[in-house]
Symmetry: C3
Subunit: 338 residues, 3 copies
């Protein structure tokens, strides 16, 4: 594909040779003459200077940093993402049901569905048009998979789980296991039946070995466009708003509600029954122990406004010295007459 | 079922119309006239006022807060849990072995066992009466599953693992993988053979994608009535006492012993070779770095008594200000004659 | 096997009865007259006194602590590991392909390969000589498994993943899922195609339910002799140097490079795009937020040199008291004339 055509399709303008033919993408360090690369992080400026890439995507402010063919875009990473998707299109799954898949007579499959080897599809399941069910997946009773969704091999959707359209679920993810609901009877735990479902919107991505529990009474809800990384725990009754992205190893306790357009860093923990408003960013490994009512950036254990946390944690690194100075001050300020 | 019958079976007294017919449970916000709800958290008092639930379970002290039919119980959440189990009984698994399951000739199945599609059961396995083995489970050589235990789809029990009676194991759980035992030979890691087993008591629940490693020499032991949430790591040689509950994303390092009736919050980490006595609560995201010999509540990184930790973490949030005040004091207290 | 023969094969010298016959290993507390035990941790000295072990491995300095037959070695744990491997040899997997395994016509299997029940091997896969593919494993297109590698049941290697020789992968591990690559288009996340692979060296062990994402553009690289425990997240583009060991529940963000011979404790988090030099130890539950350029031990949130962190965290535990003393000092030092 020529650079000029690519620019037109991803939204950007060309500077330099727009006829440059490109057949793939690569990092600045490895790209060759037929490959497109991108530049957004100034720490890689040296690599930009040395690159042999056929063309580079850059922001308008960086246009002078590269002399070769370039694609200028206000959001270069977004333009690059789109270009990469055009140059490396995902193969369309060939429709068809593998003979080793086991599909209950009461399940309904849409048109152009692909079901891979050894998948198990129970009664009452509905798989939408063009969906792909990976090898060895398990879809329990009454599961719904929306049109165009793709399940990688070995995904587990337990009874009643609903997925919207165009979702992508990675291996080992478990949706719809029982929430951790326990009442205590003089020291012995009694299980609280978990009667809700997991309901997932459209365009959601769920990472490998991530777990989303069914609601105890109401459903656990994952909004449209939510992106969950690997090894995340979403407890019963949690609700995650549209277009929120959550990095790996996060744990969200029961009934906590996270707003829309939030960004949660890796390893963050949320206690239960909180409300986090829209537009909140939480930096990695923070513990969110209270509801958050104002958009902004939060950090720390427990989390506070990131600006304050940075100042406090900076002082923590001086703490031993500060304590010594306090003790010295106490000594020198002792009244000699006492 | 009538409210009066329910009250009699779960332990509680009726106030108002005991003939109210109930066919299910729901939250205060969603319950209808034939549904039972419950009230334990005062923050939901508004929902109690507005509820259209057919009946509500409340504590004696809250009996005046709701005028409709009510079930009064000293532990309302426990009474509700039992009522929910009565109104929404788990289906008894229909006995039978799916023809696609693969069961070694030397395995023994008890009476009324259900084995679902594509399960693999190796030599020497013993499955107790009434147990359920989910689709695609793997039971390695010599595994024992006690009577009435239920394995959800895709559970992995490696060779020698023993489960007691009435356990419930969720998808993706792995019991009996090798512990992380390594000796170092001038920079190169040498594997230490992992020769122990995982031995689990009765009435244990184990969450999705939780991992419990086999012991290096002695067995890893999980006591009766223990409840483990999702994505927990239990290392080799750990012992967990009866009726201890552990929330998601906890990591327990090798050979640590946790007592009975402990409650461990989400994301907590334990270093290895510790002894935690009975009756300890650890709040979420704490790091337990030393043995604990007195029951109580512990918090922090590293964990200390929660009361002390709350005071210290409160001061941490003032740390930058405290440091500034210290510096100011140093300046003003300088002897002008120096 | 006689103690003297064992000593000769693992490297060590015998004191006492070298003709003692040994047929296994056990802990000091449980070993009997035909079992070998070891002593490295002084806290178990009482057990050494009481042991009925047939022989004990000890360091030269501890040789006086036990009167029975003993194997003296400079690194007793290493000698014990080797002795355990000799006394409890792993069974060599019997070659053969289970008829229920599904192997694509274009896959190539080496000599003496074992493929267990229900494994799925896609086109272009190459399995090296003597490798073992566990029950229900999934090997996507073009996967390479080196000679002598062993995959436990239910391992997922997605398309293009390469494993070296003599690797050991535990159940639930997922290699090659998409990295978490997202660009933001006015609030909506756009997926960045993940085009790299996962490439793993020789003699690598990967724990249960650990996830290693494929690179976005360049490959994710795991060096020779690396040991990864359970429930670890390795993001796209991470590189881990040879002979580095990482304990459970660690999360490593994208493009971070960890050097050789590092030791990472449980629950540690790394932010992205860092460089950690060779020979770094990070203690458990630390957050590494900056690159590390000097070998040594690091701790804390965020991580600093362990020695400094220990002093600061010690002061943290006095923080409330220190703050009170500061306030008292402020009061007493107020100039009465002000």
């Amino acid at each position: 594909m020529r650079l000029s055509e690519l620019a037109q399709r991803v939204g950007g303008s060309v500077e330099g040779d727009g006829d440059r033919e490109l057949d793939g993408v690569a990092t600045l360090a490895r790209a060759g003459a037929a490959q497109l690369s991108f530049f957004v992080n100034r720490r890689y400026r040296r690599q930009l200077t040395d690159t042999r890439a056929g063309a580079v995507v850059l922001a308008p402010d960086d246009r002078e940093l590269f002399a070769g063919p370039r694609l200028i875009a206000d959001n270069p990473y977004l333009a690059f993402a789109r270009a990469a998707a055009l140059l490396h299109p995902l193969p369309v799954p060939a429709p068809g049901v593998d003979p080793s898949a086991r599909i209950h007579a009461d399940a309904r499959l849409g048109r152009n569905v692909q079901v891979q080897a050894r998948a198990i599809i129970e009664a009452g399941v509905h798989v939408g048009d063009g969906a792909q069910i990976g090898a060895g997946c398990y879809l329990g009773e009454g599961v719904v998979v929306g049109a165009g969704s793709r399940l990688a091999p070995r995904v587990t959707l337990l009874a009643g789980t609903q997925l919207g359209a165009r979702c992508l679920i990675h291996p080992g993810a478990v949706l719809g296991a029982d929430g951790f609901g326990l009442a205590n009877d003089r020291g012995v735990w009694v299980k609280v039946p978990q009667l809700g479902r997991v309901v997932v919107g459209d365009d959601v991505e769920i990472g490998a070995n991530t777990t989303i529990d069914r609601g105890a009474l109401d459903d656990t809800l994952i909004g449209n466009g939510v992106k969950l990384d690997n090894l995340i725990q979403v407890a019963h009754g949690v609700r995650i708003g549209d277009h929120t992205a959550i990095a790996a190893c996060v744990g969200i306790s029961g009934s906590t509600v996270i707003g829309r357009h939030c960004v949660i860093g890796g390893g963050v923990g949320f206690v239960g029954h909180l409300e986090i408003c829209d537009g909140v960013t939480v930096t990695g490994m923070s513990m969110v122990a209270q509801s958050i009512t104002r958009p902004g950036v939060y950090s720390g254990i427990p989390a506070e406004e990131a600006r304050r946390w940075r100042r406090n944690i900076g002082r923590f690194h001086q703490l031993d010295e500060l304590a010594r100075r306090l003790l010295r001050l106490e000594r020198t300020s002792k009244d000699p007459h006492e």
